[in-house]
Amino acid sequence: MSVHKNTYRAYTGPVTPLWMRVFVLARYGFAEAWSSKITITLFTLSLLPVIVFLVGIYLANNPIAQSLILKNSHRMLTVDASFFLGALQMQSWIALVLTAWITPRLISFDLADNALPILLSHPISRFGYLFGKFIAIFGSLSVVTWVPCLLLFVYQCYASTQPWAAANLSIAAGMFVGAIIWIGFLSILGLALSSWVKWRVVATAVIFGAVFVPAGVGAIVNAVLRTQWGLLLNIPVTMSVLWQRLLGAPEFLRRGSSLPTTAIVAVLVLACLLCLAMLNARIRAREVVRG
């Protein structure tokens, strides 16, 4: 207990605009996400593939170094859409790991101690609350996906001896759009699943499960109905097909080549809508008992 007798005094200072409150949530979300050593470790690990790809670009653009290091190899190292597709895929799956770790931290702490009544009694709407959390996770995932991929692209533009950038801008645009779609989907999925599971470890497992378990269901659907449409439930395959098409890379997944892009996008949109419905049901200041 304090020694001094303190008196209450009203606050008469300035007040921030309403729209700024979302960024308060985002800032505290960032702080929470990055206060963990595991987050820092995952982020550090996520940079290792980037370094490998960086070395690849250096070698591809430096014939002397290439001849010294790859002297016995008959394959020439080329930097093209397939090269960047590899980088995007690698970073995207690291983003999944990061999502499974970070999103439960953003939501579960609030739910575990029933903080929503207090949080939402402040001038912040349910949408604002979720948007703030979304910014926190989306920003964190950006750091390991499209930001390093575009930095690799910029380095390739710089290192290439021939005019390269203008002819390959579609690769940068494809990487950016592909990464944005993926981390947007992951953010909504992670928030929705974390909001329904109070225990963080379980929430982490559920997020992985939500990505990989439907793939098994899709395989069963394909086998039973003798169709390829079950592949739409296989998120790794559908996302790979989508990224190939966005980057203009040759399609190496034959089994996914029959899937129309509109069907893939429709499945992603439906999944996002389902997640939003889950969030709408869960993120409330009070449990409302109806009936």
Partner: protein, 317 residues
């Protein structure tokens, strides 16, 4: 004294949750500096608070807080209100000062000001020494106090306390009551206190709203109610009781005589108790017992509970 603007107003307020009507046609205005909200379980107290905070939209009628529509202007209301929920509600893995600062920033305080106010609020409620401990390590009483600190940090115009002394030991309870009294005395904050403990409301509030089955059972100014009952008196006499009663009526008192010398009186303001003794002495009547009785909040509450549902027992502005 000028007319005080109503803190809270209802006009035919009806709130339905699913098929159930939880609040049914609430009408009235609350102008007190500290307003008590009473009612048995399921009366609609928490629903009313949630409606005032804009969590529920009225199915009929309107509710106003500080002159703003409770649902339409909920963002502005929430900026001007500090809310202390009944149940545990905090972020356990944050330190006390971090948590209160976060809440203050959400209410619109710039970051530096929020930190300063968080420290002040924590010292004010008596958690200064433990402000760097994680909230989930606090005792039950400390958790109540940190909820109060976060509700106060941004300097609200209206403080809504839902069962503020819930789960507290007598010393902690007394401390909380004293804090509430201090806040009320400071004058810049109006209070709405929901409690099932009549004593808490009696000690802290000057106006009370009693709900029953989602309706207003009573809405009264506790001070005015007490004043109006100050002159109510019961006597037990021996001797010429009838003659004594007639003389007392002659003083302007309302008087009712009962067998065994019992008399009930309502004494006008200009009559002193001493005058009764003088008359009794003149007429040789012995006053064996004199009980000057005032209505307690418990009487008001019980009367409200006994009254016909939906009909307020007493309304005073």
């Amino acid at each position: 004294m000028g007319v005080i603007d109503p803190v809270i107003g209802f006009d035919g307020l009806e709130v339905r949750l699913g098929a159930r009507t939880v609040l049914n046609g609430l009408t009235g205005e609350l102008r007190g500096n500290a307003i008590g909200l009473l009612g048995p379980n399921g009366a609609g107290k928490s629903t009313l608070i949630n409606t005032l905070l804009g969590f529920h939209s009225p199915s009929k009628g309107t509710a106003h807080v500080l002159g703003l529509d409770a649902y339409r202007d909920r963002a502005r209301i929430r900026g001007a209100v500090g809310y202390m929920p009944e149940n545990d509600s905090f972020i356990g893995n944050m330190t006390g000062v971090h948590f209160v600062r976060y809440m203050a920033e959400l209410s619109g305080l710039p970051s530096a000001a929020a930190l300063e106010r968080a420290h002040e609020a924590l010292f004010y409620v008596g958690l200064g020494e433990v402000r760097y401990r994680k909230v989930n390590s606090y005792s039950l009483g400390m958790k109540q106090l940190i909820k109060l600190a976060q509700a106060l940090a941004h300097g609200p115009k209206l403080l809504i306390l839902d069962e503020p002394t819930n789960g507290m030991d007598p010393i902690a309870r007394q401390r909380m009551i004293q804090l509430v009294k201090d806040i009320r005395k400071e004058g810049s904050v109006r209070l709405l206190i929901s409690s099932h403990l009549l004593r808490d409301i009696d000690e802290t509030c000057d106006e009370v709203l009693i709900l029953k089955d989602g309706r207003v059972a009573a809405l009264c100014n506790i001070e005015a109610e007490r004043r109006s009952n100050r002159s109510f008196m019961e006597l037990e006499t021996v001797g010429a009781t009838e003659k004594f009663s007639v003389s007392v009526r002659g003083l302007g008192c309302e008087c009712a005589s009962f067998p065994d010398g019992r008399i009930k009186l309502v004494i006008p303001e200009n009559i002193e108790v001493r005058d009764l003794y003088v008359i009794a002495s003149e007429q040789g009547v012995q006053i064996r017992r004199m009980n000057q009785r005032r209505d307690s909040l418990e009487d008001i509450f019980l009367r409200a509970m006994e009254s016909e549902a939906g009909r307020p027992t007493h309304v005073s502005a």
